[in-house]
Symmetry: D2
Subunit: 134 residues, 4 copies
């Protein structure tokens, strides 16, 4: 697994309870998705061709609350490539203990210039396969 | 169904794509959960007794992208009361068309003074039952 | 003064210190600016003509920390109309005590279709004058 | 000048206009303030002694809008140490062009165990002097 994103948890990430807020986790996951995507795929070329990623489902397990001062590592991998959608598996780990703070399945579709959902075959499939963590 | 929360979508709610950002939806859902909870339950009393809600899973379907300028309605209801956890069903609707923008299942547990997860029986169960939308 | 925006402070608005986070205040001010603007000016017409507001300076005094559970009122007024910029005066008040939680001077310019800053005269001036709280 | 914080601008940092949102800048500045503070001062010791930083004024100049995809560098320095407050000077630069995207003066006070504002002398003064960028 690759952990492209490392985040030191600050006071502004936390909420009233002193732990990282639920909504903020989604930003942490999103940060690593982009880091992972741009390390594997030529996103400028995709944008120029009007190809867009559209998240359709987010399923997050909050496993341990994260206090201010901790450092987190975030990873992204392919869980499953369907015929018209892709499921990513993401994890947030405590850097020290390597315990899982949260994990998530993120389902997205890819739309082309016309706005239609593309099927996961041919060139698109090949590009998406690059997102597998080796 | 009750729609306690109404939100006019502003430019700062949107992201680069001009639509409400995924993480922001979680704040919209959280806003309505609190509005719903405090309309049904005496949260001050709960806090004084050390009773805390802890979200353990969030499962969101993004059904339609939401452009700036739209007005949204948000609702919260009980989906299921388990022996040690509760599942809420939440919806975000377009005020005009009544179409669903997003829906979510939010699973939480309730912990007591000791930090232990409480079982859904007796007084706690009675309080949680009040969260059903009539 | 008009207080178009009323916000109940939730746990997700607060940070580690249990008070509303500094960055969140800017969203509260922005919320009321839009509410105030759209109550006075036909923003659709402006957008169609390529007229855009651009904030160039924000000067915020944090006067009292705001705990979770408080209800806030927010207001917007004209402080000064310059030849090429406008200064708004904004306030966040505790609804109960009417004490000031924060106030801000927000300086913005208005740009036209060409992207050039417009001078505050003629029709534009007339429109901006409408933003004065009566 | 030291640039302890480097941020790649993502879609979720931007708002409807495709540029980094005004409120988000405050998080960028806050991120670098903490990075700077913890690189110079033993914050755990301060926390144990009940010493807290309280931001009382934020004055931000937005000089150039920041599009998605840019990389930003952020710096923090002492602008002025008063008798009871400190003014920090912060900058956000485009990593490539070194042009200034935004700069800010951030005024804070330091409170002790009693909640009272400390005067900038003796040990506290010595600690605060460490925040000067060399």
């Amino acid at each position: 697994m690759e952990y492209l994103t490392e985040i030191k948890v600050r006071g502004y990430h936390a909420d009233f309870y002193g732990h990282v807020n639920n909504a903020r986790y989604l930003e942490f996951f999103e940060e690593d998705r982009w880091a992972h995507l741009e390390s594997k795929i030529d996103l400028r070329k995709w944008a120029a061709e009007g190809i867009i990623f559209l998240v359709v489902n987010v399923n997050v397990n909050y496993r341990r609350s994260v206090p201010v001062g901790e450092t987190l590592l975030i990873s992204t991998d392919i869980a499953e490539i369907g015929s018209r959608s892709v499921v990513l598996k993401q994890e947030i780990l405590f850097k020290n203990s390597k315990q899982v703070a949260a994990d998530a399945l993120i389902t997205f579709v890819v739309t082309g210039k016309s706005g239609k959902v593309l099927t996961m075959e041919g060139d698109i499939r090949k590009e998406i396969e690059k997102l597998r963590s080796s």
